[in-house]
Symmetry: C2
């Protein structure tokens, strides 16, 4: 049981960002319009609850387009490589492009840097679909790095272009570019970290500092949710990452007075609401 004095602080910037809202809206519109043969290549956003809801309406998640010969393909918020666009066009599929406009910008910068012969460095998680896709636009002379230590083993050119996964932490991006500055002659930086990410991370950091316990809600595959967890942990706060309310363990709250809650960009409001409700019930 928690004490009566226990208080919940919900981050204002928690939950769906502009790009995620847009992608979900486009997906629901597409399935209600076309009804059958509606696909996404990979999950539309990194939240299993939303993906399940769309699946119930008839949106099928496929790994690639090999088994899709007709119908509508919704391009996920993280984008797809140019080759996949080509295949979809050749097959005559109806394309609904739900790529986040901020991710799309990163694709265009990657193309520009490639055209102007820059060595390209993408700061981000190597396995993340957004990063893999940006990399597919950037071409062969591209490295993906997660932190400044990874620069040591790279052969840096005299002309380097740098991009970030939209959900990277600004501090990590800054550390990397300061290292690169020492090793190259020209550094052309496109700051592709989106505003929503910067605000959400700053708010999470401030909140974590003033509470006894932080709950971070979001998909386990969501890079930006994982990053939020790391940021909260860095402040020294007790931090738990959950996907849904039922994962909550009442033990976490014993002796805690102030509870902070934030959520990743792909976490629906109703999932956040359920978590808040569950915590209140424990009082």
């Amino acid at each position: 049981m928690m004490s009566q004095a226990q208080k919940i602080f919900l981050a204002e910037e928690a939950g769906f960002c502009f790009g995620v809202k847009r992608a979900i809206k486009l997906a629901f519109e597409a399935v209600s319009k076309y009804k059958e043969n509606v696909y996404t290549i990979g999950p539309i956003i990194h939240n299993p609850q939303v993906v399940d809801e769309l699946e119930a309406k008839g949106v099928k998640v496929v790994a690639d387009l090999s088994a899709v010969d007709c119908g509508t393909v919704i391009v996920r918020s993280h984008g797809i490589p140019p080759e996949l666009f080509e295949i979809a066009k050749k097959k005559g599929l109806n394309i609904v492009d739900a790529t986040c406009p901020f991710v799309k910008k990163a694709h265009n910068y990657a193309l520009l840097l490639k055209k102007e012969d820059y060595q390209i460095i993408i700061v981000g998680d190597r396995e993340h679909p957004e990063v893999r896709t940006i990399s597919s636009y950037a071409g062969d002379n591209t490295f993906i790095i997660g932190n400044k230590n990874e620069i040591r083993t790279l052969e840096i050119s005299t002309k380097v272009g740098i991009l970030a996964q939209t959900t990277q932490s600004l501090e990590n991006f800054q550390e990397i570019l300061l290292e690169l500055l020492k090793k190259t002659n020209e550094l052309r930086i496109f700051n592709t970290i989106c505003d929503a990410t910067i605000k959400r991370q700053a708010e999470a950091r401030n909140l974590a500092k003033k509470v006894d316990l932080m709950i971070v809600i979001g998909g386990y595959h969501s890079a930006n949710t994982k990053r939020l967890k790391e940021i909260c942990k860095e402040t020294g706060a007790d931090t738990y990452h959950i996907e849904i309310a039922k994962e909550i363990d009442p033990e976490w709250f014993v002796g805690k007075q102030k509870i902070g809650i934030t959520a990743g960009a792909s976490t629906p409001n109703w999932v956040v609401d359920k978590v808040v409700k569950r915590i209140r019930e424990l009082q």
Copy 2:
């Protein structure tokens, strides 16, 4: 009187850099070849002792070309604006270009950034001839800033190009670009701080940390010498900036065991040697 245990540590990177050596060599060659009507616009380097030596050989320092109608004009190591080159050409003067090749690079980057419509920020000392000259190549949409606090009052564009005075401190340059990164979409950085500067500053910092007293030798108008003095002071070391040996006050050395010496890029070896000799005599 100093103690017998007193030791002098002379920085390896003290004194003339490549660009200064080259400029002096070109100036002496020019005056020995052309003998008469040899001019520099402003002092060739920021060291009065060297300028006096050249003057004795017949090199006249002029403020501009208004009174020069024939002969040879030596372009100083800090460079001159494109308009002055044009005037010299129109007057049919013989031009010996002693602009430091690293400064020349900054001119070319300024032209490139101007051509591609960047807002240009030059990190450096507003009144320094090198900075004023780079700025003359960069054009109207250019700001010169000395530190990150000066960014606050600027209206920053979405496309910013950044250059540094070749003798700037890397730390100050880094601080400024991290601030700019938060305010723009694209930041194109040409790291025009020269290697000799980076090495000399790093060595001065390390030396200052392990001695009881630092002597920094160089012209009072020399930006890179002033920067060396600041760097040494920042470490907490007792630091004196002198131009020549006779400025030394024996009082400075009372109770000091370890004496560090460094010198700016425009300080001749013979000036440094005289300082070392004078300190030894005090023992």
